[in-house]
Protein backbone atom coordinates (compact mmCIF):
# COMPACT_ATOMS: atom_id res chain seq x y z
CA UNK A 1 0.00 0.00 0.00
CA UNK A 2 1.03 3.55 -0.66
CA UNK A 3 -0.38 6.97 -1.47
CA UNK A 4 -2.08 7.48 -4.84
CA UNK A 5 -0.90 10.55 -6.73
CA UNK A 6 -3.20 11.92 -9.44
CA UNK A 7 -1.11 13.43 -12.25
CA UNK A 8 -2.65 16.48 -14.00
CA UNK A 9 -2.85 16.61 -17.81
CA UNK A 10 0.03 19.11 -18.32
CA UNK A 11 2.44 16.70 -16.56
CA UNK A 12 1.39 13.41 -18.13
CA UNK A 13 3.94 13.70 -20.90
CA UNK A 14 6.50 13.09 -18.15
CA UNK A 15 4.68 10.07 -16.71
CA UNK A 16 4.15 8.27 -20.05
CA UNK A 17 0.50 9.30 -19.80
CA UNK A 18 0.07 7.57 -16.47
CA UNK A 19 -2.78 9.28 -14.65
CA UNK A 20 -2.51 7.58 -11.27
CA UNK A 21 0.86 6.85 -9.71
CA UNK A 22 1.55 4.92 -6.47
CA UNK A 23 4.19 6.52 -4.29
CA UNK A 24 5.64 5.35 -1.00
CA UNK A 25 6.71 8.38 1.01
CA UNK A 26 6.30 9.79 4.51
CA UNK A 27 5.51 13.38 3.48
CA UNK A 28 4.43 15.40 0.43
CA UNK A 29 7.99 16.72 0.11
CA UNK A 30 9.36 13.17 0.08
CA UNK A 31 6.69 12.13 -2.42
CA UNK A 32 7.87 14.83 -4.85
CA UNK A 33 11.47 13.61 -4.49
CA UNK A 34 10.25 10.07 -5.17
CA UNK A 35 8.26 11.23 -8.23
CA UNK A 36 11.43 12.90 -9.54
CA UNK A 37 13.33 9.61 -9.27
CA UNK A 38 10.73 7.81 -11.36
CA UNK A 39 9.88 10.65 -13.74
CA UNK A 40 12.93 12.89 -14.13
CA UNK A 41 12.05 16.53 -14.68
CA UNK A 42 8.77 16.51 -12.78
CA UNK A 43 10.20 18.15 -9.64
CA UNK A 44 11.15 21.45 -11.28
CA UNK A 45 7.62 21.73 -12.62
CA UNK A 46 6.18 21.56 -9.11
CA UNK A 47 8.66 23.42 -6.94
CA UNK A 48 10.70 26.56 -7.60
CA UNK A 49 14.45 27.14 -7.19
CA UNK A 50 13.97 27.84 -3.47
CA UNK A 51 12.25 24.49 -2.94
CA UNK A 52 8.76 25.93 -2.36
CA UNK A 53 5.66 24.74 -4.22
CA UNK A 54 5.21 26.95 -7.30
CA UNK A 55 2.77 29.86 -7.10
CA UNK A 56 0.26 28.37 -9.54
CA UNK A 57 0.45 24.76 -8.33
CA UNK A 58 -2.08 23.56 -5.78
CA UNK A 59 -1.46 20.26 -3.96
CA UNK A 60 -4.22 18.46 -2.08
CA UNK A 61 -4.12 15.47 0.29
CA UNK A 62 -7.53 13.78 0.53
CA UNK A 63 -9.16 16.90 -0.93
CA UNK A 64 -7.52 19.31 1.54
CA UNK A 65 -5.12 22.00 0.29
CA UNK A 66 -1.69 21.35 1.84
CA UNK A 67 -1.46 25.06 2.69
CA UNK A 68 -4.15 24.35 5.32
CA UNK A 69 -2.11 21.32 6.50
CA UNK A 70 1.67 21.35 6.88
CA UNK A 71 2.68 22.29 3.33
CA UNK A 72 5.54 20.07 2.11
CA UNK A 73 5.81 18.52 5.59
CA UNK A 74 2.23 17.22 5.39
CA UNK A 75 2.44 13.52 6.39
CA UNK A 76 1.21 10.77 4.08
CA UNK A 77 -0.19 7.39 5.05
CA UNK A 78 -1.33 4.32 3.15
CA UNK A 79 -4.30 4.95 0.93
CA UNK A 80 -4.04 8.76 0.93
CA UNK A 81 -5.05 10.48 -2.31
CA UNK A 82 -2.82 13.28 -3.56
CA UNK A 83 -4.01 15.67 -6.29
CA UNK A 84 -1.85 18.18 -8.12
CA UNK A 85 -3.96 20.89 -9.72
CA UNK A 86 -3.26 24.15 -11.52
CA UNK A 87 -4.99 27.23 -10.07
CA UNK A 88 -8.14 28.06 -12.07
CA UNK A 89 -10.26 31.09 -12.69
CA UNK A 90 -13.27 32.44 -10.88
CA UNK A 91 -16.89 31.80 -11.57
Amino acid sequence: MAAQVRIPTPLRKLTNNEELVEIKAATIGAAITELQKRFPGIQERLVDEGGAVRRFVNVYVNEEDIRFLQNLQTPLKDGDEVSIIPAIAGG
Partner: protein, 420 residues
Protein backbone atom coordinates in the same frame (compact mmCIF):
# COMPACT_ATOMS: atom_id res chain seq x y z
CA UNK B 1 -3.25 30.81 -40.65
CA UNK B 2 -3.55 34.52 -39.96
CA UNK B 3 -7.09 34.66 -41.24
CA UNK B 4 -8.10 31.60 -39.26
CA UNK B 5 -6.92 33.10 -35.98
CA UNK B 6 -8.47 36.54 -36.39
CA UNK B 7 -6.42 39.14 -34.53
CA UNK B 8 -4.86 36.57 -32.19
CA UNK B 9 -1.26 35.41 -32.53
CA UNK B 10 -0.75 32.73 -29.86
CA UNK B 11 -1.27 31.76 -26.24
CA UNK B 12 1.58 32.79 -23.98
CA UNK B 13 2.55 31.87 -20.40
CA UNK B 14 2.32 34.91 -18.13
CA UNK B 15 5.17 33.57 -16.02
CA UNK B 16 7.85 32.30 -18.40
CA UNK B 17 6.69 33.60 -21.79
CA UNK B 18 6.59 30.21 -23.56
CA UNK B 19 4.12 30.26 -26.45
CA UNK B 20 1.40 27.72 -27.27
CA UNK B 21 -1.02 27.27 -30.19
CA UNK B 22 -4.53 28.76 -29.92
CA UNK B 23 -6.27 25.60 -28.66
CA UNK B 24 -8.36 24.77 -25.59
CA UNK B 25 -5.56 24.82 -23.05
CA UNK B 26 -4.95 27.04 -20.06
CA UNK B 27 -1.71 26.34 -18.19
CA UNK B 28 1.95 26.27 -19.10
CA UNK B 29 3.37 22.76 -19.07
CA UNK B 30 6.55 24.03 -17.45
CA UNK B 31 5.50 26.13 -14.48
CA UNK B 32 1.67 25.92 -14.46
CA UNK B 33 1.53 29.67 -15.14
CA UNK B 34 -1.73 30.88 -16.72
CA UNK B 35 -1.80 31.27 -20.51
CA UNK B 36 -2.95 34.54 -22.02
CA UNK B 37 -3.90 35.49 -25.59
CA UNK B 38 -1.33 37.51 -27.56
CA UNK B 39 -2.78 39.90 -30.16
CA UNK B 40 -1.47 41.51 -33.31
CA UNK B 41 -1.85 45.12 -32.10
CA UNK B 42 -0.47 46.61 -35.33
CA UNK B 43 -3.30 45.05 -37.33
CA UNK B 44 -5.84 45.93 -34.66
CA UNK B 45 -4.71 49.57 -34.72
CA UNK B 46 -5.47 49.79 -38.42
CA UNK B 47 -8.95 48.37 -37.92
CA UNK B 48 -10.16 49.65 -34.54
CA UNK B 49 -10.66 53.43 -34.50
CA UNK B 50 -13.07 55.48 -32.39
CA UNK B 51 -15.06 56.11 -35.54
CA UNK B 52 -15.28 52.39 -36.38
CA UNK B 53 -16.36 51.53 -32.83
CA UNK B 54 -19.00 54.27 -32.68
CA UNK B 55 -20.55 53.08 -35.93
CA UNK B 56 -21.19 49.56 -34.59
CA UNK B 57 -24.15 48.12 -32.62
CA UNK B 58 -24.33 48.83 -28.88
CA UNK B 59 -23.02 45.46 -27.65
CA UNK B 60 -19.68 44.32 -26.20
CA UNK B 61 -18.77 43.08 -29.68
CA UNK B 62 -18.15 46.63 -30.91
CA UNK B 63 -14.60 46.02 -29.60
CA UNK B 64 -14.43 42.73 -31.44
CA UNK B 65 -10.78 43.06 -32.55
CA UNK B 66 -9.72 43.01 -28.88
CA UNK B 67 -11.76 39.89 -28.07
CA UNK B 68 -10.21 36.44 -28.65
CA UNK B 69 -12.28 34.77 -31.34
CA UNK B 70 -11.20 34.08 -34.91
CA UNK B 71 -14.44 34.83 -36.76
CA UNK B 72 -17.66 36.69 -36.04
CA UNK B 73 -19.28 35.86 -32.65
CA UNK B 74 -21.90 33.11 -32.72
CA UNK B 75 -22.97 33.06 -29.05
CA UNK B 76 -24.16 36.05 -27.02
CA UNK B 77 -24.17 38.53 -29.88
CA UNK B 78 -26.45 40.90 -27.87
CA UNK B 79 -24.39 40.96 -24.66
CA UNK B 80 -23.01 44.08 -23.00
CA UNK B 81 -23.10 47.85 -23.42
CA UNK B 82 -24.84 48.13 -20.09
CA UNK B 83 -25.70 51.57 -18.66
CA UNK B 84 -23.10 53.79 -17.01
CA UNK B 85 -25.14 55.82 -14.53
CA UNK B 86 -24.04 59.19 -13.15
CA UNK B 87 -24.90 58.54 -9.51
CA UNK B 88 -25.26 62.04 -8.01
CA UNK B 89 -27.42 61.05 -5.06
CA UNK B 90 -25.04 58.24 -4.12
CA UNK B 91 -22.03 60.56 -4.60
CA UNK B 92 -23.51 62.96 -2.06
CA UNK B 93 -24.03 60.20 0.49
CA UNK B 94 -20.51 58.84 -0.08
CA UNK B 95 -18.99 62.32 0.15
CA UNK B 96 -17.31 62.39 -3.25
CA UNK B 97 -17.44 64.91 -6.10
CA UNK B 98 -18.43 62.47 -8.84
CA UNK B 99 -19.59 58.85 -8.83
CA UNK B 100 -20.62 56.54 -11.65
CA UNK B 101 -22.20 53.09 -11.50
CA UNK B 102 -21.39 50.62 -14.28
CA UNK B 103 -24.56 48.58 -14.09
CA UNK B 104 -23.96 45.00 -15.20
CA UNK B 105 -26.89 43.98 -13.00
CA UNK B 106 -28.88 44.46 -16.20
CA UNK B 107 -26.52 42.68 -18.56
CA UNK B 108 -28.19 40.49 -21.17
CA UNK B 109 -29.33 37.71 -20.89
CA UNK B 110 -28.66 36.58 -17.30
CA UNK B 111 -28.17 39.83 -15.35
CA UNK B 112 -24.49 39.63 -14.47
CA UNK B 113 -21.12 40.50 -16.01
CA UNK B 114 -20.59 36.78 -16.62
CA UNK B 115 -22.53 37.04 -19.88
CA UNK B 116 -19.48 38.88 -21.23
CA UNK B 117 -16.98 36.11 -20.52
CA UNK B 118 -19.40 33.37 -21.50
CA UNK B 119 -20.25 34.81 -24.90
CA UNK B 120 -16.51 34.88 -25.69
CA UNK B 121 -15.82 31.41 -24.27
CA UNK B 122 -18.76 29.77 -26.03
CA UNK B 123 -18.13 31.53 -29.36
CA UNK B 124 -14.55 30.29 -29.18
CA UNK B 125 -15.67 26.78 -28.08
CA UNK B 126 -17.96 26.72 -31.10
CA UNK B 127 -15.02 27.68 -33.35
CA UNK B 128 -12.91 24.91 -31.85
CA UNK B 129 -15.66 22.35 -32.52
CA UNK B 130 -16.94 21.60 -28.99
CA UNK B 131 -20.49 20.32 -28.53
CA UNK B 132 -20.54 20.19 -24.71
CA UNK B 133 -19.70 23.15 -22.50
CA UNK B 134 -19.25 23.28 -18.73
CA UNK B 135 -18.15 25.44 -15.82
CA UNK B 136 -17.33 25.55 -12.13
CA UNK B 137 -19.38 28.35 -10.64
CA UNK B 138 -20.45 30.33 -7.60
CA UNK B 139 -23.77 30.87 -9.39
CA UNK B 140 -23.71 33.72 -11.90
CA UNK B 141 -21.42 31.90 -14.29
CA UNK B 142 -23.60 28.78 -14.11
CA UNK B 143 -26.66 30.90 -15.01
CA UNK B 144 -24.87 32.42 -17.96
CA UNK B 145 -23.40 29.18 -19.31
CA UNK B 146 -26.79 27.47 -18.98
CA UNK B 147 -28.66 30.26 -20.81
CA UNK B 148 -26.16 30.99 -23.55
CA UNK B 149 -25.56 27.28 -24.22
CA UNK B 150 -29.30 26.73 -24.52
CA UNK B 151 -29.63 29.58 -27.01
CA UNK B 152 -26.71 28.22 -29.03
CA UNK B 153 -27.97 24.63 -29.00
CA UNK B 154 -25.02 23.36 -26.95
CA UNK B 155 -25.28 20.82 -24.14
CA UNK B 156 -24.11 22.12 -20.76
CA UNK B 157 -22.94 20.85 -17.38
CA UNK B 158 -22.65 23.37 -14.56
CA UNK B 159 -21.01 22.57 -11.22
CA UNK B 160 -21.93 24.67 -8.18
CA UNK B 161 -21.65 24.50 -4.39
CA UNK B 162 -24.87 22.74 -3.29
CA UNK B 163 -25.70 25.47 -0.74
CA UNK B 164 -26.08 28.35 -3.25
CA UNK B 165 -28.95 30.83 -3.19
CA UNK B 166 -32.19 29.28 -4.48
CA UNK B 167 -32.48 31.99 -7.15
CA UNK B 168 -29.18 31.04 -8.69
CA UNK B 169 -29.98 27.32 -8.72
CA UNK B 170 -33.38 27.76 -10.40
CA UNK B 171 -31.76 30.21 -12.80
CA UNK B 172 -29.55 27.41 -14.10
CA UNK B 173 -32.08 24.57 -14.05
CA UNK B 174 -34.70 26.42 -16.08
CA UNK B 175 -32.54 26.37 -19.22
CA UNK B 176 -32.27 22.58 -19.15
CA UNK B 177 -28.63 22.53 -18.07
CA UNK B 178 -27.24 19.55 -16.17
CA UNK B 179 -26.78 21.15 -12.75
CA UNK B 180 -24.45 19.31 -10.38
CA UNK B 181 -24.46 20.51 -6.75
CA UNK B 182 -21.25 19.71 -4.92
CA UNK B 183 -21.12 19.28 -1.15
CA UNK B 184 -18.28 21.71 -0.59
CA UNK B 185 -17.27 25.32 -1.20
CA UNK B 186 -16.27 26.81 -4.55
CA UNK B 187 -12.58 25.95 -4.22
CA UNK B 188 -13.57 22.28 -3.92
CA UNK B 189 -15.91 22.57 -6.91
CA UNK B 190 -13.03 24.14 -8.78
CA UNK B 191 -10.62 21.34 -7.89
CA UNK B 192 -13.09 18.69 -8.97
CA UNK B 193 -13.74 20.49 -12.26
CA UNK B 194 -10.02 20.70 -12.98
CA UNK B 195 -9.93 16.91 -12.63
CA UNK B 196 -13.07 16.40 -14.73
CA UNK B 197 -11.75 18.74 -17.43
CA UNK B 198 -8.61 16.62 -17.65
CA UNK B 199 -10.70 13.50 -18.24
CA UNK B 200 -13.65 14.62 -20.39
CA UNK B 201 -13.26 16.42 -23.68
CA UNK B 202 -15.56 19.31 -22.81
CA UNK B 203 -15.06 23.05 -23.14
CA UNK B 204 -14.87 24.12 -19.48
CA UNK B 205 -15.24 27.87 -19.82
CA UNK B 206 -13.11 28.68 -16.75
CA UNK B 207 -10.70 25.75 -17.01
CA UNK B 208 -9.41 24.83 -20.47
CA UNK B 209 -11.16 27.83 -22.14
CA UNK B 210 -9.91 30.27 -19.51
CA UNK B 211 -7.49 32.26 -21.73
CA UNK B 212 -10.40 33.21 -24.03
CA UNK B 213 -13.05 33.41 -21.31
CA UNK B 214 -11.12 35.83 -19.09
CA UNK B 215 -10.54 38.30 -21.94
CA UNK B 216 -14.31 38.87 -22.20
CA UNK B 217 -14.12 40.92 -18.97
CA UNK B 218 -12.14 43.61 -20.79
CA UNK B 219 -15.31 44.69 -22.58
CA UNK B 220 -16.62 46.15 -19.31
CA UNK B 221 -13.59 48.46 -19.17
CA UNK B 222 -13.80 49.43 -22.87
CA UNK B 223 -17.43 50.43 -22.38
CA UNK B 224 -16.72 52.52 -19.27
CA UNK B 225 -14.06 54.48 -21.15
CA UNK B 226 -16.23 55.06 -24.22
CA UNK B 227 -19.27 55.98 -22.11
CA UNK B 228 -17.18 58.57 -20.21
CA UNK B 229 -16.37 60.19 -23.57
CA UNK B 230 -13.11 58.29 -24.18
CA UNK B 231 -11.75 59.02 -20.73
CA UNK B 232 -10.23 56.49 -18.30
CA UNK B 233 -11.78 56.98 -14.85
CA UNK B 234 -9.47 58.28 -12.09
CA UNK B 235 -10.66 55.51 -9.76
CA UNK B 236 -12.35 52.19 -10.53
CA UNK B 237 -13.64 50.00 -7.68
CA UNK B 238 -13.97 46.35 -8.70
CA UNK B 239 -15.17 43.26 -6.80
CA UNK B 240 -12.60 40.48 -6.41
CA UNK B 241 -13.32 36.76 -6.32
CA UNK B 242 -10.48 35.16 -8.29
CA UNK B 243 -9.17 38.65 -9.09
CA UNK B 244 -9.52 38.09 -12.84
CA UNK B 245 -12.07 40.88 -13.53
CA UNK B 246 -9.85 43.44 -11.82
CA UNK B 247 -6.76 42.52 -13.85
CA UNK B 248 -8.75 42.50 -17.10
CA UNK B 249 -10.33 45.93 -16.55
CA UNK B 250 -6.82 47.28 -15.95
CA UNK B 251 -5.70 45.56 -19.16
CA UNK B 252 -8.60 47.12 -21.07
CA UNK B 253 -7.43 50.62 -20.09
CA UNK B 254 -3.86 49.72 -21.06
CA UNK B 255 -4.92 48.38 -24.46
CA UNK B 256 -6.95 51.49 -25.30
CA UNK B 257 -3.84 53.50 -24.46
CA UNK B 258 -1.64 51.28 -26.59
CA UNK B 259 -4.00 51.75 -29.56
CA UNK B 260 -4.02 55.54 -29.10
CA UNK B 261 -7.75 55.60 -28.29
CA UNK B 262 -7.09 57.28 -24.92
CA UNK B 263 -4.19 59.42 -23.85
CA UNK B 264 -3.70 59.44 -20.10
CA UNK B 265 -2.26 56.80 -17.84
CA UNK B 266 -2.89 57.86 -14.27
CA UNK B 267 -5.78 55.65 -13.22
CA UNK B 268 -6.07 53.81 -9.90
CA UNK B 269 -7.57 50.33 -9.62
CA UNK B 270 -9.14 49.38 -6.26
CA UNK B 271 -10.26 45.90 -5.20
CA UNK B 272 -13.26 44.94 -3.05
CA UNK B 273 -13.82 41.77 -1.02
CA UNK B 274 -16.10 40.51 1.73
CA UNK B 275 -14.39 40.26 5.12
CA UNK B 276 -15.55 36.63 5.31
CA UNK B 277 -13.42 35.82 2.27
CA UNK B 278 -10.68 38.41 1.93
CA UNK B 279 -7.35 36.76 1.08
CA UNK B 280 -6.45 39.44 -1.50
CA UNK B 281 -7.59 42.43 0.54
CA UNK B 282 -5.78 41.19 3.67
CA UNK B 283 -2.55 40.75 1.68
CA UNK B 284 -2.86 44.19 0.04
CA UNK B 285 -3.43 45.93 3.35
CA UNK B 286 -0.40 44.15 4.83
CA UNK B 287 1.74 45.23 1.88
CA UNK B 288 2.37 41.63 0.74
CA UNK B 289 2.65 40.51 -2.88
CA UNK B 290 1.29 37.01 -2.10
CA UNK B 291 -1.86 35.87 -0.31
CA UNK B 292 -2.76 33.12 2.13
CA UNK B 293 -5.71 30.92 1.08
CA UNK B 294 -8.79 31.03 3.35
CA UNK B 295 -12.00 29.06 3.92
CA UNK B 296 -14.84 31.39 2.87
CA UNK B 297 -17.71 32.37 5.16
CA UNK B 298 -19.75 35.29 3.76
CA UNK B 299 -23.18 36.14 2.36
CA UNK B 300 -21.36 37.35 -0.79
CA UNK B 301 -21.27 33.84 -2.21
CA UNK B 302 -20.44 34.96 -5.72
CA UNK B 303 -17.13 36.28 -4.33
CA UNK B 304 -16.42 33.31 -2.05
CA UNK B 305 -13.19 32.03 -3.56
CA UNK B 306 -10.61 31.23 -0.88
CA UNK B 307 -7.82 30.38 -3.32
CA UNK B 308 -8.01 33.18 -5.89
CA UNK B 309 -6.21 32.12 -9.07
CA UNK B 310 -5.43 35.69 -10.15
CA UNK B 311 -4.86 37.03 -6.64
CA UNK B 312 -1.18 37.51 -7.28
CA UNK B 313 -1.78 39.56 -10.45
CA UNK B 314 -4.59 41.56 -8.80
CA UNK B 315 -2.18 42.56 -6.01
CA UNK B 316 0.35 43.64 -8.61
CA UNK B 317 -2.19 45.79 -10.51
CA UNK B 318 -3.25 47.59 -7.33
CA UNK B 319 0.37 48.19 -6.40
CA UNK B 320 1.34 49.46 -9.86
CA UNK B 321 -1.60 51.85 -10.14
CA UNK B 322 -1.47 53.07 -6.53
CA UNK B 323 -4.85 51.52 -5.76
CA UNK B 324 -6.08 49.95 -2.53
CA UNK B 325 -8.08 46.95 -1.36
CA UNK B 326 -10.65 46.90 1.41
CA UNK B 327 -13.27 44.49 2.75
CA UNK B 328 -16.69 44.76 4.37
CA UNK B 329 -18.73 42.66 6.81
CA UNK B 330 -22.06 40.98 6.00
CA UNK B 331 -23.95 43.81 7.74
CA UNK B 332 -21.99 46.44 5.78
CA UNK B 333 -22.82 44.55 2.57
CA UNK B 334 -26.55 44.66 3.33
CA UNK B 335 -26.37 48.36 4.26
CA UNK B 336 -24.56 49.13 1.00
CA UNK B 337 -27.13 47.20 -1.06
CA UNK B 338 -29.83 49.36 0.57
CA UNK B 339 -27.84 52.56 0.10
CA UNK B 340 -27.44 51.91 -3.64
CA UNK B 341 -31.09 50.94 -4.00
CA UNK B 342 -32.41 53.97 -2.07
CA UNK B 343 -30.19 56.53 -3.78
CA UNK B 344 -30.03 55.26 -7.36
CA UNK B 345 -32.84 52.74 -7.78
CA UNK B 346 -30.42 49.93 -8.52
CA UNK B 347 -30.83 46.57 -6.77
CA UNK B 348 -27.43 44.87 -6.73
CA UNK B 349 -26.59 41.39 -5.58
CA UNK B 350 -24.33 40.88 -2.57
CA UNK B 351 -21.18 41.41 -4.65
CA UNK B 352 -22.53 44.87 -5.57
CA UNK B 353 -23.01 45.54 -1.86
CA UNK B 354 -19.36 44.60 -1.37
CA UNK B 355 -18.19 47.03 -4.05
CA UNK B 356 -20.34 49.96 -2.88
CA UNK B 357 -19.45 49.26 0.76
CA UNK B 358 -15.75 49.19 -0.03
CA UNK B 359 -15.99 52.39 -2.11
CA UNK B 360 -17.63 54.04 0.90
CA UNK B 361 -14.77 52.95 3.17
CA UNK B 362 -12.05 54.02 0.73
CA UNK B 363 -13.65 57.46 0.34
CA UNK B 364 -14.15 57.86 4.12
CA UNK B 365 -10.49 57.01 4.75
CA UNK B 366 -9.28 59.41 2.04
CA UNK B 367 -7.73 56.63 -0.05
CA UNK B 368 -10.11 57.82 -2.75
CA UNK B 369 -9.95 61.63 -2.37
CA UNK B 370 -13.29 63.49 -2.01
CA UNK B 371 -12.50 65.83 -4.93
CA UNK B 372 -11.98 62.91 -7.38
CA UNK B 373 -14.25 60.86 -9.65
CA UNK B 374 -14.93 57.15 -9.15
CA UNK B 375 -16.54 54.35 -11.18
CA UNK B 376 -18.09 51.55 -9.10
CA UNK B 377 -18.65 48.23 -10.89
CA UNK B 378 -21.92 46.51 -10.02
CA UNK B 379 -21.63 43.06 -11.54
CA UNK B 380 -24.81 41.17 -10.61
CA UNK B 381 -28.53 41.55 -9.90
CA UNK B 382 -30.15 41.66 -6.46
CA UNK B 383 -33.07 39.50 -7.54
CA UNK B 384 -30.67 36.56 -7.57
CA UNK B 385 -29.64 36.90 -3.92
CA UNK B 386 -32.94 37.76 -2.23
CA UNK B 387 -32.10 35.37 0.63
CA UNK B 388 -29.30 37.69 1.72
CA UNK B 389 -31.49 40.77 2.29
CA UNK B 390 -34.90 39.21 2.92
CA UNK B 391 -36.04 40.34 6.38
CA UNK B 392 -33.41 43.11 6.53
CA UNK B 393 -35.32 45.80 4.62
CA UNK B 394 -38.60 45.85 6.51
CA UNK B 395 -42.00 44.34 5.71
CA UNK B 396 -45.03 45.63 3.83
CA UNK B 397 -47.77 47.02 6.09
CA UNK B 398 -51.04 45.17 5.51
CA UNK B 399 -54.53 46.61 5.69
CA UNK B 400 -58.04 45.69 4.54
CA UNK B 401 -59.19 47.27 1.24
CA UNK B 402 -60.78 50.14 3.18
CA UNK B 403 -60.12 53.86 2.84
CA UNK B 404 -60.62 54.31 6.61
CA UNK B 405 -57.84 51.83 7.39
CA UNK B 406 -55.56 53.51 4.90
CA UNK B 407 -56.18 56.95 6.38
CA UNK B 408 -55.49 55.61 9.87
CA UNK B 409 -52.23 54.19 8.58
CA UNK B 410 -51.27 57.51 7.00
CA UNK B 411 -51.98 59.38 10.23
CA UNK B 412 -49.78 56.99 12.11
CA UNK B 413 -47.04 57.48 9.52
CA UNK B 414 -47.23 61.26 9.87
CA UNK B 415 -47.12 61.04 13.65
CA UNK B 416 -44.07 58.83 13.36
CA UNK B 417 -42.42 61.29 10.94
CA UNK B 418 -42.93 64.33 13.20
CA UNK B 419 -41.58 62.51 16.23
CA UNK B 420 -38.40 61.35 14.50
Amino acid sequence: MEKQDGFMKALKCRECGREYPLTATHVCEFDFGPLEVVYDYDRIKRSLTRHAIESRPHTMWRYRELLPIANEPTVGTQVGFTPLIKADRLAERLGIRECWIKNDAVNYPTLSFKDRVVSVALSRAHELGFKIVACASTGNLANSVAANAAAAGLKSYVFIPADLEQGKIVNSLVYGANVIGIHGHYDEVNRLCAEIAGKYGWAFVNVNMRPYYAEGSKSLGFEVVEQLGWRVPQHTVIPMASGSLLTKIHKSYQELGKLGLVHHTDWKIHGAQATGCSPISVAQKAGLDFFKPVKPNTIAKSLAIGTPADGFYALRVMKETGGHAEDVSDDEIRDAIKLLAETEGIFAETAGGVTVGVAKKLIASGKIPAEDSVVICVTGNGLKTLDAVNGHCGHPREIKPSLREFEALMQETEKFATHH
